[in-house]
Amino acid sequence: MTSTVSRFVLLRATVLAASVASLFGGAAFAGTPQDGGTLTAIVQPEPVTLTSAINTAAPTGFISGNVFDGLVDYDLDLNPKPALAERWEVAPDGLSITFFLRKGVTWHDGHPFTAADVKWTLENVWKTIHPRNQATFGRVTQVDTPDDHTVILRLSEPSLAILSSVNSNGAQVLPKHLYEGTDILNNPYNLKPVGTGAFVFKEWSKGNHLILERNPNYWDKGKPHLDRIVFKVIPDAAARAAALEKGDVQYAVFSPVPLKDAERLGKLPSLKIETRGYEWISPWLFFDLNVDNKYLKDVRVRRAIAHAIDRKAISNIVWYGFAKPAISPVPSTLPAFHDATVPQYEFDVKKAEALLDEAGYKRGPDGVRFALTHDFIPYGDDYKRTGEYLKQALKRVGIEVTIRSQDTAAFTKRVYGDRDFDISSAWFAAFSDPQVGVTRAYWSGWVGKNTPWTNGSGYRNPEVDALIAQAQGQARQEDRIATFKKIQQIVQTDLPSIPLAELKFFSVHAANLKDVVTHGDQIYGSLKDAWFDKAASN
């Protein structure tokens, strides 16, 4: 998940930018949608396949969300909204979840969509070959389909995280009649998908473009507004910026242009920078402190490092202001789970020095207390600059940092396998439930297993492990929230990893393209609401 999404350069959204965008983005576009027009968008890099159910890579999700529907969509506050499922019920004991499916929905080839499709996909795709869902749906023991439009998941233990991951990306339903009995991973329909979504797959000219056309039989009457979507492959960032500027392309996602260029493009009247639509991913940037290091095993040293880092400077300078300082590993973009009362480590050099003195590491005659190494996640200049900031920040309190750079394979092996590092940086997607994206960073079972993007710090706390297990089986959402808040309090006290910033990707779109972001999972969702305002021509 993270590994696939995160090769894109991330971007920040200032609180201001986000709030201004929402002011003008939502209700302000009260104009009546107009039908027609071709949207040209950039997909980068070119996807390998078009079926999110078997490949969670970002470019696949970006296109696939238009061809397939989810059981639900998530609004900008990440509440589930009806899609293929008109409504759903969780049993009071949490041991069953019932989805009531929409009637009269057909696949693009005319076959009716039924509960059998959901049951088959869950049993044969989500539980077996889906990269993320094996954990999410692991507690489903049986799927009942009393009629064609009812699906009942029977669970061995309550598993509320399921409801945060049943959109078209988290749990994509495949047409059983085209996949049953075939080699699912090599099924030809992975490259010419047949879904239920607002747009129908038309053609794919590899290395060039991919075309989707309006689905005239779409169940959401009156939608989509666009006649067709053309996805273009433009590998060079400067060429992408030029295409957007010229108006050849009206929509591009996942921070398609260099960070600094975004500001310049955003000032053009013909373009808009959009930071919403990534809420479902909820990425946060952090430093992992190797707790097996002889200095970093002392919690006072870890806290001193946190005090020595100005997280505002990281957001505003290193990330050009396109990030928000983070105080907890559960980003504030998950308002229900986020705990704002966790211990805070404000920027205070004196306090950092005092803590280091207290830990027994006085400044030597050369002003140096001790030396550490830093390995930054090799995903681009932004992460390198973050490392350069760390070096200068810790130098101020007497810790000499040597930065090391390497490729991604060497980095993940060093941090998650060999554990041969002192401080590393990374970003994870929290997704809309901390169980899906956050707990992996603290669960001791991952330590040293060489599974990338898991517990890098080497933190082992039986209490936290127990709380993580407890949250997985809790039936009531309030109980889970309480458990996750307890976890945040403990890990922010022990501080094996320092949350730095809540990162946000940004999209660039033409100013006359309206309602392009209407969902919190928009980036992996459908452009069925988007329309061109012909009056406001560029």
């Binding site: 260099p258 600094k260 050009y320 390198k384 900031y389 750079s405 390497q406 490729d407």
Partner: protein, 293 residues
């Protein structure tokens, strides 16, 4: 020894040394090169005096244009680092890397060339095959591979450049040594029973000095360029400021704040130009045929 002195004319080496500097000064391009190089050397030497603080420090407001703030005459980059301080300290790193890398390739290149040319036969065969092996690899690709496999640190960058830029020098030295090998001076030394090492060091190499000096000045320039290109690609040592790393960092803001990449880029141009002008001047000054004119 008296026979040796009379038999071995030192005449061939004398014009090389005598008045070299004076002759260099007669060439305007060489003077320009020397002046430019002198200025860069002065920058490197005075870096700690003029800018005693760490050039990596976030000293000011980010993205100050050159001239906008008298405290930062060349402006600040995206992290608020003083570009002028970076250029001064970068001069030190770039010259150091250029110099040491050239030294490494001089030792290897001259050694290989001298041994191959002097002993000929099997040694020559073996050494020249190794040289050819190195020459078949594209010159920039090899350092990239070395630095990517080892970690990019100052030492590995110097070694990578030094270990890959010696083959042309080795061939040049070998050709010169082959020419001298059959000359009367060397033959006489052999007759006098001098050891091979002594002949090579005291009689052969001094006469090969001219082409070595000329290519060395060019090699320093190309080493600086190679280091800059590596740093531009993100394969420089992230713990030090070099001109190449500054250009690389400025690349992503090229459309909006072009000066971040341009200022250190001009420094690279100046250094490489200075060394090339000097190399040309040395070439002319050291060429005995031109002296006779």
């Amino acid at each position: 020894m008296s026979i040796a002195q009379s038999v071995l004319p030192a005449a061939e080496e004398r014009p090389v040394r005598r008045g070299l500097f004076a002759r260099l000064l007669r060439r305007p391009s060489a003077v320009a090169g020397l002046a430019l190089l002198g200025a860069i050397l002065a920058m490197a030497a005075l870096a700690d005096v003029v800018y005693p603080a760490d050039p990596l420090d976030m000293a000011g407001t980010p993205f100050l244009w050159p001239g906008a703030d008298p405290d930062f005459p060349l402006g600040t980059d995206m992290m608020g680092r003083d570009i002028a301080a970076g250029v001064f300290h970068g001069a030190r790193v770039s010259l150091l890397i250029g110099g040491v890398a050239t030294l490494v390739s001089l030792v290897i290149g001259v050694g290989v060339g001298a041994i191959a040319g002097f002993f000929r036969g099997r040694a020559d065969h073996a050494l020249m095959h190794v040289t050819e092996l190195f020459q078949t690899i594209p010159p920039f690709l090899f350092p990239i591979v070395i630095v990517a496999i080892l970690q990019p640190t100052m030492t590995t960058v110097v070694l990578a450049i030094g270990l890959t830029s010696w083959p042309s020098l080795a061939r040049l030295v070998r050709a010169e040594v082959l020419r001298l090998r059959d000359g009367e001076m060397v033959q006489a030394s052999i007759v006098l029973g001098l050891s091979d090492a002594r002949i090579i060091l005291t009689h052969v190499l001094p006469n090969v000095l001219a082409p070595i000096v000329v290519s060395a000045s060019i090699m320093v320039a190309s080493a600086i360029l190679t280091e800059s290109s590596l740093a531009f690609l993100g394969l420089g040592d992230p713990n030090i400021v070099s001109w190449g790393s500054m250009v690389g960092a400025g690349r992503e803001v090229l459309r909006t704040d072009w000066y971040v990449a341009t200022v250190p880029g001009l420094a690279i141009v100046a250094a490489v130009l200075a060394l090339n002008l000097l190399g040309d001047g040395l070439n002319d000054a050291l060429d005995p045929r031109q002296n006779r004119r």
